[in-house]
């Protein structure tokens, strides 16, 4: 079924083109900034390049989106409620299917061409690789909770789906560290942002992968956000269930 995403819209190639160009531009940007500045603080150039590349390879996991917004837009929530399966499980299943397709068609080829880009895609150490797996799982848990939370917020505020979605995307990209490592934010902003839930989605796993941050602290912050966000998201969703009728529920 997930392969149908590609069959329905063969223009996914444009999205891939954007992602490749984004990597190329960001890599060139970091080289332009950091080459000849060995003591610029934050992270060494090699780690920043790895961070940028791995961020794109795992972009769908680190900037998680389910099909909830599409269900709002298409007014198909009611169909999902009729299925003998919980809504979050349905959304997760669809999401995992899409991930598998795009990981095979985009992420793996991107990893394969890293020597051409002059980037070492390996983690900082075997321990970092193992902890990255754990951290990525926690990042997905936090991302999923945030997706449900923002979905419920859209309904609660009775706002157009895309307004909240664009807002979340714009702010999330900045606060999560998925575009730039938080270690390079000025005025101590990175330190402040690293305590927010968005950082648990991208900064934490990527910092662990590149051996930049204290893995114990990063994992602990992810666990705290996962535990705190799920009850809040669940409560907000249930509290606004009746309003769902306006979105096809």
């Amino acid at each position: 079924m997930s392969a149908g995403v590609i069959g329905d819209s063969p223009l996914f190639v444009l999205e891939y083109a954007l992602r490749v160009l984004r990597v190329l531009v960001l890599l060139s940007l970091w080289r332009m900034i950091l080459e000849g500045r060995p003591s610029s603080g934050g992270m060494p150039l090699g780690s920043v390049l790895t961070y940028t590349l791995i961020s794109e390879v795992f972009a769908q996991q680190l900037q998680l989106r389910t099909t909830l917004r599409d269900a709002f837009w298409e007014g198909t929530l009611v169909i999902r409620f009729l299925r003998p399966m919980g809504l979050v499980r349905q959304l997760s299943a669809e999401m995992l299917g899409r991930w598998a397709i795009h990981f095979a068609l985009f992420s793996l080829p991107l990893l394969a061409v890293t020597p051409l880009l002059g980037v070492d895609p390996r983690p900082a150490s075997p321990t970092a690789a193992a902890l990255f797996g754990l951290s990525l799982t926690l990042a997905v848990a936090v991302g999923l909770a945030l997706d449900v939370f923002f979905g419920a917020l859209t309904v609660a505020l009775e706002q157009p789906v895309w307004v909240i979605d664009y807002l979340r995307g714009a702010v999330g990209t900045l606060l999560s560290g998925s575009l730039l490592p938080l270690a390079y934010y000025p005025w101590g902003l990175g330190d402040a942002f690293s305590w927010l839930p968005f950082a648990a989605m991208a900064w934490a796993p990527l910092a662990i992968f590149t051996g930049t941050g204290d893995a114990t602290v990063l994992l602990a912050s992810q666990v705290v956000w996962a535990v705190a966000l799920w009850p809040i998201a669940d409560w907000l969703w249930r509290a606004n269930r009746e309003k769902l009728v306006g979105y096809g529920g």
Binding site: A17, V163, L174, Y184, Y185
Partner: protein, 281 residues
């Protein structure tokens, strides 16, 4: 000609009133739309701004020049939002959804409808203030000696950048004439291609990558290249201006050619997106 201009102005006035009334439904709607655009625009340029602040510039660009680049990028985006809103810049949606018929049945030329119908000076202006703010801020820091000729170049560059973005959108969007369902959302991707990367300086790229970003996907022509010319980073300026103008003309010609071919095809087939009883396929 004069009659056309008068009519365009009258239509802009009409659409501006309607846009204001749309927002005047209540403070919640107004605040949501305005804040959403404002935050989205500011967030789009913040990453580059933070890097420039952290390293006091990026490559050959000083911090103040980066501010100018970001302001220019936001201004181009804001003007497109103001003049080509309501999916006029995302023409694939109108074509793909069969909504072009709504325009074709109007007693006015198609170009006039496309030029006026998306005028949204209120709901589309969320990015205008941050864009102008950045330009004024950078202008003061750079102590730009602006002459009437410089203002002329600035206006010409902004127009060229807008023309390139719209031409790129219409070129890709025209595919929806032949594949209405598959290409309905193609302009979302083409828009993201241009706007996400526009606020970054591309000086670190070379060879095929850089050539691609000023030709196939003209990201570099949206803000980077015109800003270089306006700030005197490129010399001689006249060569850069000529290149930008010729690029805008070439992109526009390609878009018009493809759009009119698509329109001819549409004239034979019409929209296939609606069933006889009105539901969309």
């Amino acid at each position: 000609m004069a009659e056309h201009v008068r009519r365009v102005l009258r239509l802009w006035q009409l659409y501006a009133t309607m846009d204001l009334l749309y927002l005047a439904r209540g403070p919640q709607v107004a605040i949501t739309f305005y804040v959403s655009d404002f935050v989205t625009g500011v967030a789009a340029v913040t990453a580059t701004f933070l890097l420039a602040e952290r390293f006091d510039g990026i490559g050959p660009w000083t911090r103040a020049q980066i501010l100018f680049l970001l302001g220019y990028s936001l201004l181009v985006r804001a003007l497109i939002d103001i003049f080509f809103n309501y999916n006029l810049a995302f023409i694939s949606r109108r074509i793909g959804r069969g909504q072009l018929d709504h325009v074709l049945i109007q007693p006015q030329p198609l170009w006039m409808a496309l030029l006026t119908e998306g005028f949204a000076p209120v709901t589309g202006s969320g990015m205008l203030l941050p864009g102008l703010g950045l330009l004024i801020w950078s202008g003061r820091e750079l102590q730009l000696a602006v002459s009437p000729a410089w203002w002329g170049l600035f206006a010409a560059n902004v127009l060229a950048s807008i023309a390139i973005v719209l031409a790129f959108e219409y070129t890709w969007g025209s595919l929806a004439f032949w594949a209405p369902r598959a290409a309905e959302e193609i302009n979302s991707d083409s828009w993201r291609l241009l706007t996400q990367l526009a606020p970054f300086p591309l000086d670190g790229l070379a060879g095929l990558a850089l050539v691609s970003l000023v030709t196939i996907v003209p990201v570099g022509l949206v803000a980077w290249y015109p800003s270089r010319a306006l700030l005197g980073i490129d010399s001689p300026v006249w060569a850069a201006e000529l290149a930008l103008t010729l690029s805008a003309v070439a992109f526009a010609a390609l878009a018009v050619w493809l759009f009119t071919r698509g329109l001819r095809h549409y004239g034979h087939t019409g929209s296939t997106r609606y069933l006889d009883y009105g539901h969309r396929r």
